[in-house]
């Protein structure tokens, strides 16, 4: 940021005119709203924001914000975001998607993004279902949920544990928020964007259409136990005992951020490289 005062924008300035396709009551509205408040608070110029997504209901997010966006293919938000960040490290890059996009088809990229620790934020809006395709089980769906025709006897598999896997994969910032707690969520997103490195924010974002029972989350969420968030052992314990409903920053440490293009100017010329090929 330079010395001139950057005009503070209202959160509304970060919203585009495009009407979301989400159902009334969808948790993702709250995430959109919290994100606009966060960006306003941080005074990021709208043109310096890039929201990168995959496929799914929550992946429609980029068009609903007024900055740059890329609505990519299923499961590939993280590498898209990583490539953009590598080329343009000065931008505020936010990757977003849902539980299917992020933990099923995108699972491999999730592991390596945690390892790589590039400086951008990853928001997963988890509603434990595939909403866009009209109600199949996702990796975070309970094993006994039998409402999908594809898995009429339930998934038969134990749930994917995003926080535990993020920690094991070496993530440097792990937080959980809830769409029904917008001010808490705004606070978490702010910390995530300010965190130097890969910041994973797992947002419980209920699907009112295919998982109406998720209304009960309101009574089930609770703050995570307090403690030194930089301590890996404490985080491991927290996450081991996690009921999936604990909100807050579960783990945050400063680790070396993946350095890439733009962080060092080149000091050589193509002519010299060509000259080395001559005999």
């Amino acid at each position: 940021m330079d010395a001139t005062v950057i005009p503070s924008l209202h959160a509304k300035a970060y919203k585009s005119d495009v009407k979301p396709v989400w159902c009334p009551g969808c948790g993702h509205f709250a995430v959109l709203s919290a994100l606009t408040k966060t960006l306003a608070y941080l005074r990021v110029p709208t043109e310096d924001v890039a929201v990168i997504s995959g496929i799914g209901c929550s992946s429609r997010l980029p068009a609903y914000l007024s900055g740059y966006g890329f609505h990519g293919v299923h499961g590939r938000a993280l590498p898209l975001a990583a490539g953009l960040k590598a080329a343009r490290p000065e931008l505020t890059v936010i990757a977003a998607g849902g539980d299917g996009d992020g933990f099923s088809i995108g699972g491999n990229h999730f592991l390596h993004a945690c390892r790589r620790n590039m400086d951008f934020t990853y928001i997963v809006m988890d509603n434990e279902v595939y909403g866009m395709t009209k109600g199949q089980a996702s990796p975070t769906t309970q094993p006994d949920w039998a409402k999908s025709k594809l898995t009429p006897h339930g998934t038969g598999m134990r749930r994917f544990q995003p926080a535990a896997i993020a920690l094991a994969a070496g993530a440097s910032f792990i937080a959980r928020g809830y769409a029904g707690d917008p001010s808490g969520l705004t606070h978490l997103l702010t910390q995530a964007i300010e965190h130097p490195g890969f910041a994973f924010v797992h947002v419980l974002s209920p699907c009112q259409t295919f998982r109406p029972e998720q209304k009960a989350w309101k009574q089930m969420v609770h703050p995570c136990a307090l403690g030194p968030t930089h301590d890996a052992a404490h985080a491991a314990q927290l996450i081991q005992r996690d009921d999936g409903m604990a909100l807050g920053v579960l783990y945050a440490v400063d680790l070396p951020v993946y350095a890439c293009a733009g962080s060092r100017p080149g000091d050589d010329a193509l002519e010299r490289i060509e000259a080395e090929l001559a005999l």
Binding site: V18, P45, T46, E47, D48, A50, V51, I52, P62, A63, S66, G67, Y68, G69, F70, H71, G72, V73, G75, R76, L78, P79, L80, A81, A82, G83, L84, K85, A86, A87, R88, E90, L91, N108, H109, L111, H112, C260, A261, G262, R264, P265, G266, D267, D268, A269, L270, I273, E274, L277, A278, L279
Partner: protein, 595 residues
Amino acid sequence: MTLSLDPRTTPVAAAITGSGGSGAVTAGLILLDAVAHAGFYGLLSRSSGPQIRGGESAVMLRFGPTPVRCLGDRYDLLAALDWGNHGRFSDEIPLDRDSLILADPQAGEIPDAVLASGAAHRALGLRASAKERPGGRANMVAVGAVGALVGLPLAALLTGAERTLRRKGEGVVAAARACITAGFGSIDAHGAPSALLVDPGQRPRRWSINGNEAAGLGALRGGVRFVAAYPITPASEMLEWLAPRLERLGGALVQAEDELASINMIIGSAFGGVPSLTATSGPGLSLMMEGIGLAVASETPVVVADVMRGGPSTGIPTKSEQSDLDIALYGLHGDAPHLVLAALGIADCVLTLEWATRLAEHLQTAAIVLSDQSIGQSRAIIDPPPALSPPSSAGPGQGRRTAKAGADYHRYALTADGVSPMSLPGQAGCAYTADGLEHGPHGTPSSVAADHWAQLDKRRAKLEGFDFGHAWAEIDGDGPLCLVTWGSSRGAALEAAERLRAAGRPTRVIGLRLLAPLRRDALLGAIGEAEVLVIELNHGAQLFHYLHAQRALPPGARSLARPGPLPLRPAEIAAACDRGAAPVPSIRATPGRGR
């Protein structure tokens, strides 16, 4: 027996084989260097056993007074350091009664299969000679002997050894020089007086380069400064060459976790404004198809280099073939026109990659560039390739059409030539969301028919309406016979054409560099009234059927399509021309209905 070889007038071909640790490859590299220092052009290929390290290897060298474009039909000389697993290489090193085998009697009997060629043979005590010198090695004695037999001057051999072995220290260099001198001296009555071809002070300094390096250089010349890639045989060396050089130029290479990450990372970096590339082989290209489609639909420029191996599936990773044309052309779901180019040889990798990068950037699309293992992993002595010359419309300075901030910016605005101004993140007043979903001019997703049709028309028209200039093909010669080919097969086709001309059959060779969009009228114009033979190294006659489907071939055009792993040879091509009335492939071809 000595060979009467004179590399000043006719190319000479020599091969060296040996089991793991025998140093055949080092010997080959030294000889190639010597070739260059003696003023010749050369081409060096290698082959090895399947072991991860230390397997048997063979080097095949051909050199002469003019650029060497293929390995030819036969070898004048085979020097065997030993006979371990030699059978593996017999198809790749054809010998005949005019060939000479140089073998160490201490290495055992020459296998019958090798003698069956009718080649003459000569014993040389490589090991015995090496033993007499401290630190001596049989492969260095062989370098000297081979050099003498093929007409290379001793000074060039010694310089080659010094340059190649410098890193291993003075002792090793000195031992090598002693052995080379001994080997050289053991050959009396040389085939031809060895002499420098040209005074080295006067000629331009030539390059020693392999195809993968040349492709990397072309990409850098085209402006590529970001690469994300996953290692794969036979493309990894391109990435290894690029990694430190990108850093020197202020760019970067990221080793991605898989090919899906690779293609999506370069889409992200290109979206951010940096010309970007990935390199892979067939299996990786298959994985990238969805991503390439995203680049096409979102109009984000990317370059994907495919160094083809034997296919299908895992195939033959270390051998060459030209069987990825179909997937490069047709691998995207939906109607997704894009650029497909192919390098016409090692030196041409520089131009083709530079051109592909500039085209992709200007036309805001994906460019798939086909190379192959024989190009990528063979090393040649070449003249420094010229810079991409105007008036190619996508020449230096063209770049991306940039957007100006203004009210109501439409990223995918319909323009006269189909190319829309492209804004970059960070630019105020013209933000947009790129999308793989079909969209209207603004970029907002749309399933409206008019939007889909308009955007499809735009994405096709921007390619088909573009003036690609003269670089779509290299055309040599003229005549009633026309060989149409691509990639590494062009070398053998050129040599076959030389023989046909010498035998009184003027022949034209068209080597296609731009495969999609196809310059159909230009190709038909270049063919004229000639009789056509389409030449390619794959089982399914992919190029032939593509050109036929595009109605870019005259009636009666014939196909010479053979799969790898062995390269097409000039004699095969010339013989196919002689056969005259070879049948037109029947399966998918229908008799042409004219142009």
